[in-house]
Assembly symmetry: C2
Homo-oligomer: 325 residues x 2
């Protein structure tokens, strides 16, 4: 009976608003797989029901330069276009976005827009989507932005916390699906995020990657990944320090980020547990143990930028996307 | 005081015997890194003190064809040669080996000999080695056999159970050291081992591997590794089934093993959680849930070989090397 009541209320709703946080993808050892939410910034989507079964891009405000107006090319709406089709809805959506995450920052901006839009749209559905279904639709939007399907930003932005998101094998026309594991967060784990005053195109940062790697590099990267996973499940900060490093992608992308090695060195000078690129960059993240340590790392990194960057220090938490009205 | 007493007894010992179990390396997702002990077969070493500070290869019996008599080239003794030198011992060792693991089986025979020898020799030392030091010395012996240092057989044979063994960075002349994590074993996890009537040279099986892999393969393999680690820590058998697969090494080595795909298919016909090559082969391992399931998998695999193989079914346990007299 409770479900019926909820359904009736949902049917009356014509407008919903949702917030989705920024996120840090790759996390040094899990390229395209690992990510964690960074609830210090985020995008907000307002989705309104419209009579026609189509999706319209509404207002876009905030930290934006330009955004595609075609709903199929727009990160926030491409998933909703698919949703309208899959569900054979007799109504559509008008989607407005308030960007709190700069594009091309490496902080999961396109994923956050896609997640916020689907979370808000879901409020307007008679039969709600599961979290995993929302993930699939958000992924379609994210695919528009990055040119390939990987849920390393979408999953943490939606679920919150630290997630492992592995693509399942699906036929080309099927909705992409993901196996998501919500990973444990050792108590007292803090993150420092540094966003240098620079913009990097995600597709460019992906395009420069070599299509292959040495078997030895694969083995070393696998060792670090397995040690890192063990560290999370056993709250072993020494093992985080031993394993939180990226010798595969970082060396290929570091030159795209002005001052990368200076900022990274500044993090290690302050004894960071690890420090590398956030997503495709140019943002960097570092991990620290406890607030005081995080603030010391943040201060050291900010000094290295001569103040030409924004920085945050925050405790890792399981805070993901949510409906805000 | 207790330590002192032990030391006195140790000084009186002139002969010690130790057993080290077989092991399954790689475990589909952790090439060169993961391994588990298979305490259904093993090697036994008898180490005797001799007056000269040197190492002598004594009798070799059991499942052997030939073994190098030079102590530096012999798996079981190369680590002891280094030990005598490092410790500046004023005595040496005579090492006899009873091989219970056929060479070139993919069941960690050379590692077991090296482990059994160092565990027995350790009993004759005034100042005992730590487990990690024993691992380092056993690794030197294993390095002789495989041509490179990786502890994926040595670690499980010594520690028992399922281990993650990552090589640390050390200078070329330093004793190699390893970061070992003893991984949790989900309750009711069983293994089926199949040893076809064939011998494979480890160096050959390594030599055919391509020196690089596609970035996409690396990402998929990393996804499986991370899911597998999660599965172990959360006892999630569905996730073991999802992740226990090797799309990097198996396709390159399968053709070296007569009937590999038939045996693997037989395992999956019996609903195995996963099935691939054990170490460098030709042995295969499959995982199953519970004894009845393991026996069904074993029966199916044995039928596919027309009986031309040995097979075991056993529960995964934390049983490693031990002194036996």
């Amino acid at each position: 009976m409770k479900g019926k009541v909820t359904t009736n209320i949902a049917m009356q709703l014509t407008r919903a608003k949702a917030f989705a946080p920024a996120s840090v993808a790759n996390v040094a050892v899990g390229f395209d797989l690992l990510g964690f939410s960074a609830d210090v910034a985020g995008d907000t989507a307002v989705v309104e029901k419209i009579d026609e079964p189509q999706v319209v891009v509404g207002e876009v405000t905030g930290l934006m330069t330009s955004l595609p107006l075609s709903p199929l090319e727009n990160t926030a709406t491409a998933g909703l276009v698919r949703l309208v089709r899959d569900r054979k809805l007799n109504f559509g959506f008008r989607v407005s976005i308030q960007k709190g995450i700069p594009l091309g920052s490496g902080l999961g901006g396109s994923a956050a827009s896609a997640v916020a839009a689907i979370v808000a749209a879901n409020e307007l559905l008679e039969a709600r989507l599961t979290l995993n279904e929302m993930l699939s639709y958000a992924l379609i939007g994210e695919g528009v932005a990055s040119g390939s399907f990987h849920a390393d930003n979408v999953a943490p932005s939606l679920f919150g916390g630290l997630t492992l998101a592995a693509m399942n094998e699906t036929a080309p026309n099927e909705l992409p699906t993901v196996t998501v594991s919500e990973l444990p967060i050792p108590e007292g784990l803090w993150c420092v995020l540094l966003h240098p005053n620079q913009r990097l195109d995600t597709k460019q940062a992906r395009g420069i990657l070599k299509p292959h790697l040495q078997l030895n590099s694969h083995i070393e990267a696998s060792a670090n990944l397995a040690l890192f996973m063990t560290a999370l499940f056993t709250s072993d900060f020494d093992l985080i320090r031993r394993s939180l490093r990226d010798d595969v992608i970082e060396p290929q992308r570091a030159h795209l980020i002005d001052g990368f090695y200076e900022y990274q060195k500044a993090a290690y000078d302050a004894n960071a547990l690890g420090c590398t690129i956030s997503g495709a960059g140019p943002a960097l993240f570092a991990w620290a143990r406890g607030e005081a340590h995080a603030i010391a790392v943040k201060t050291s990194m900010l000094q290295a930028t001569s103040g030409l960057a924004r920085a945050w220090a925050f405790e890792l938490k399981r805070s993901g996307a949510r409906v805000v009205s």
